[in-house]
């Protein structure tokens, strides 16, 4: 039987990859996909702990994370499309109007 630690380690690796993607990449679409990667690794941790404690609440929370992720993607992509329309770029370094 695979121990829960293996699933948590997989989730940790995926979460770190998401962080690196957000920090290093400058294409707004890829940054967004990295955020999805992090959300998914957290879902994996929730389900692993739900299995460890045999408590269904962890899976219910994953359901809500899915809903919020869907909404977040819809609104975020709408914003990216709108930025692209007005500035013809999706490079986040080019969108620095509010930079201090």
């Amino acid at each position: 039987m695979v121990p829960v630690a293996a699933y948590l380690a997989l989730g940790a690796v995926l979460f770190t990859m998401g962080i690196v993607g957000v920090l290093v990449r400058r294409n707004a679409l890829i940054v967004f996909m990295s955020i999805e990667l992090m959300l998914n690794s957290v879902n994996l941790a929730f389900i692993a702990f739900a299995r460890q404690h045999l408590n269904i609440d962890g899976q219910v929370i994953v359901f809500f994370v899915l809903v919020v992720a869907a909404v977040e993607v819809v609104v975020g992509l709408a914003l990216i499309v709108e930025i692209f329309r007005s500035r013809s770029t999706v490079d986040i370094d080019d969108v620095d109007l509010m930079r201090g």
């Binding site: 121990p3 990859m17 290093v24 996909m33 879902n43 899976q59 992720a69 709408a78 990216i80």
Partner: protein, 170 residues
Amino acid sequence: MEWVIFVPAAALAIAGGVGVIAARQPVHSAIALLVVLAALAVTYLLLAAQFIAVLQVIVYAGAIVVLFLFVIMLLHARSGEGPVEKLPRQRVAAAVFAALFLAALIVGSVAATRPLATAPEGFGTAQQVGEALFVTYLLPFELASVILMVGIIAAVVVVKRGPPAGRGGR
């Protein structure tokens, strides 16, 4: 026995994760994200979360990645990154802090692990998740529908072209 399924799924997920953050074209990232989501659905099945695994494939792979692909198609060729990196040493700093963070996460997650008991019959089925959702978590469930509605309206409002400037909006 479970290792036979877990190891390829984990390897596929990690390879997909590398693909997401390393691909030059956004469309390749989206396909790599699809691989990660499918591999994670397999691990959900191993963790006795059948309903969530199906939901993952339908909602994430079926809806969210398709939405990504549509937007990539819409923004298409000119959606690359500029050649100049405005923040020097950003990559090095990101790698260092990510490595530290990963070490902390893994130490913490190993410490939080207890040995697994056998899952009882019917754990993680649509029936059990549905019961929890519609009895214990009925109010959050209804609020989720409000959030979805707000999201739809927000997307339409953000993308809609406003009336020409100078004329009062009606």
